[in-house]
């Protein structure tokens, strides 16, 4: 579940930690919770979704870190803000909705971005191994660039470069996009503890993302 680590980092970072602190805490979370407490084994035994379980585990872990720091009054260099301070800054470490980039929203954005990355790489491998680099190029320029760079290259530029007409470009992109949608669903399904939760998970993610 290495692919969840950027989401864990995003959550910790959005909870008010500096970049270096967030990195350390992410690594500590992976060692203490993922590995030592065998989160994945617990996930297999529990009902619910892995994303929900993970976000709860990070939240609890940060609360533990905070409690330990307060109990021993050993604050790290640079300090860890009190939870009240986070709330005053508009952050939320308790799970309530908040304005701006809350830890949950940061987590979800990174979580799905990572799924997109993994799915994109799978699509690229599949298309290129089938000798269809053209469809991958179309998908990269028309879909991924729009998603990650905010602009999609126009067909007037793409079609002459690829040596196919605009209509054929669009049709090949449709095929690639459909395959991508299938891969995305497979990747999401792989994160499901109970496969029957897939539709609910997709609906939840869409609702979460649309409320940004």
């Amino acid at each position: 579940m290495k692919r969840s680590w950027p989401a864990v980092y995003a959550y910790i970072r959005a909870s008010g930690r500096r970049s270096d602190e967030a990195m350390d805490l992410t690594q500590a979370f992976i060692c203490d919770v993922f590995l030592a407490r065998r989160l994945l084994e617990k996930a297999d035994q529990a009902r619910g979704r892995f994303r929900t379980l993970l976000i709860g585990a990070v939240r609890n872990y940060l609360a533990d870190v905070h409690r330990r720091a307060n109990a021993t009054t050993r604050m790290p260099k640079g300090g860890i803000s009190a939870i009240d301070d986070y709330k005053a800054k508009g952050f939320d470490v308790t799970g309530d909705e908040s304005v701006g980039s809350s830890p949950e929203r940061a987590f979800n954005a990174r979580y799905v971005a990572e799924i997109i990355r993994v799915a994109s790489e799978r699509l690229q491998r599949e298309l290129e191994s089938a000798g269809d680099g053209v469809s991958w190029e179309l998908f990269r320029l028309r879909v991924l660039h729009a998603a990650f760079q905010g602009d999609a290259t126009g067909y007037d530029q793409i079609a002459p470069r690829l040596g196919i007409d605009k209509g054929t470009c669009a049709a090949r992109l449709l095929t690639a996009k459909r395959r991508f949608a299938n891969i995305l669903m497979e990747e999401l399904r792989a994160t499901m503890i109970d496969p029957n939760d897939l539709r609910d998970e997709v609906a939840d993610l869409m609702a979460l993302l649309n409320n940004r």
């Binding site: 991924l144 998603a147 067909y155 209509g167 992109l173 993302l209």
Partner: protein
């Protein structure tokens, strides 16, 4: 050719990527609900972004010959690559309709198919009760235009 998969660099790009996933999933579910028209609508909007659906794009007099030719090529490929029979069938009808539209609206023949094959395709299009009336009317006008071409 730069071939790397772009990755989110910051919160803003992660947000855009997240929106993309949301759009893609919604789109995937829409395909589940109306598979035949969803693919053709996607193709149509890739070529004429403001089009509401394939039928509007084809019957809209503002579509240029070039756009109709692009639509024709897109539907032609969909007709052969689609995994579902209803979508292949719709793509074949739309393919014929683009040819009829170019002929009727611009007096241009955008295919090398024979007049006999075209007449048969237009007749089938005109008789298909699942097609909107304006598309069926276009097919009838296409048959007339073919006759005039000789």
């Amino acid at each position: 050719m730069h071939n790397e998969t772009p990755a989110p660099e910051n919160d803003e790009s992660a947000t855009r990527a997240a929106q993309s996933l949301s759009d893609t999933l919604r789109w995937a579910f829409e395909l589940d609900e109306s598979p035949a028209i969803a693919g053709a609508t996607f193709l149509t909007r890739e070529i004429i972004p403001c089009a509401r659906d394939p039928f509007d794009a084809i019957t809209d007099g503002a579509a240029t010959t070039r756009q109709l030719e692009d639509l024709k090529n897109a539907y032609k490929m969909l007709r052969t690559t689609s995994a579902t029979a209803p979508e292949r069938s719709l793509a074949a009808r739309l393919y014929a309709a683009t040819i009829a539209a170019a002929l009727v609206r611009h007096g241009e023949l955008i295919t090398r198919q024979s007049a006999t094959a075209l007449t048969r395709a237009f007749e089938e299009l005109g008789a298909d009760e699942e097609m909107p009336e304006r598309i069926r009317d276009l097919a009838t006008l296409g048959i007339d235009a073919l006759r005039k071409l000789g």
